[in-house]
Amino acid sequence: MSKQIDLVEAANDFCDSDLVRSHQTFRDYQENLRAMLLSISLTMSEDSRQAAAWLRHRTAPDGRRVGWLQRIFLASRLRGHGNNAAEAFLEAAKAVVRMSAVHAEYMLAEQQTNKTTGAGSGAKRQGRYETKDGA
């Protein structure tokens, strides 16, 4: 579903993206943000699983161990919270998708406006066939 991206590169792109130059750059920005959030979410869930496994099997250097049941209980709580964090990142990605839907709507509205009132603006005279490049 999501392509593998380099998180650091994506973050740098995100930092110095020029989002309002044109519609295309805005779309690229949104796509980049979405991919970054998904990747963060994957990393987050992986990390929480590893950390839970670590806590479950951990023996302190001086030989201390938390009681068996409590250790498992705490580890599973940790993993649960980590998964919640990952899910929140996914939710953020969802909101980005919705934002890009709004942007698509805007572009459509722009297109529609120019199509219906083309006669007045002189862009297109009546009786012309419509071609792809608007000539």
């Binding site: 998180l7 650091v8 994506a10 973050a11 740098n12 995100f14 930092c15 989002l19 309002v20 805005f26 920005y29 943000l33 963060i40 990393t43 987050m44 990390d47 929480s48 590893q50 950390a51 670590w54 806590l55 302190a60 001086d62 030989g63 201390r64 161990r65 938390v66 009681g67 409590q70 250790r71 705490l74 709580r77 940790l78 919270h81 980590g82 919640n84 964090a85 990952a86 929140a88 990142f89 939710e91 953020a92 969802k94 909101a95 980005v96 919705r98 934002m99 709004v102 942007h103 709507e105 805007y106 509205a109 722009e110 406006t113 120019n114 009132t117 603006s121 862009a123």
Partner: protein, 117 residues
């Protein structure tokens, strides 16, 4: 808290190359890094959403007409609102990470309380 001047790229490097399970301290640092990163990201997303919504509100295509005023304003408002939703979700992630830190602190306390062999 962190702000935009603290570069997101360096935070992301720290996030990706973190040694999470070597020691308790490393894990705590990692959690802190994640919080900072999500916080910075949320802040930047809100700022960018403001910029984008202003741009959409005033946008005039190079050739052709503008979108009608009311529609334009409505769409720009929705863009901004969605960007705020993104930030909201990110802050939710921060609070989950804080809960993780709480659980970890509890584990630390339990380990301290147990008897050494």
């Amino acid at each position: 808290m962190s702000n935009r001047s603290d570069d997101l790229g360096t935070q992301m490097v720290r996030f990706e190359t973190a040694e999470i399970i070597t020691s308790h301290e490393a894990f705590e640092n990692h959690l802190y890094t994640v919080q900072q990163m999500a916080w910075t990201l949320a802040l930047m997303v809100v700022q960018d959403g403001e910029i984008a919504s202003t741009w959409l509100r005033h946008h005039k295509p190079k050739k052709g007409k503008r979108v009608p005023l009311l529609e334009r304003v409505a769409l720009s408002r929705r863009t901004r609102a969605h960007s705020r939703n993104v930030a909201d979700a990110l802050l939710e992630a921060v609070s989950s990470v804080q809960k993780m830190a709480g659980v970890h602190a509890e584990y630390l306390g339990a380990e301290k309380a147990s008897t050494p062999k």
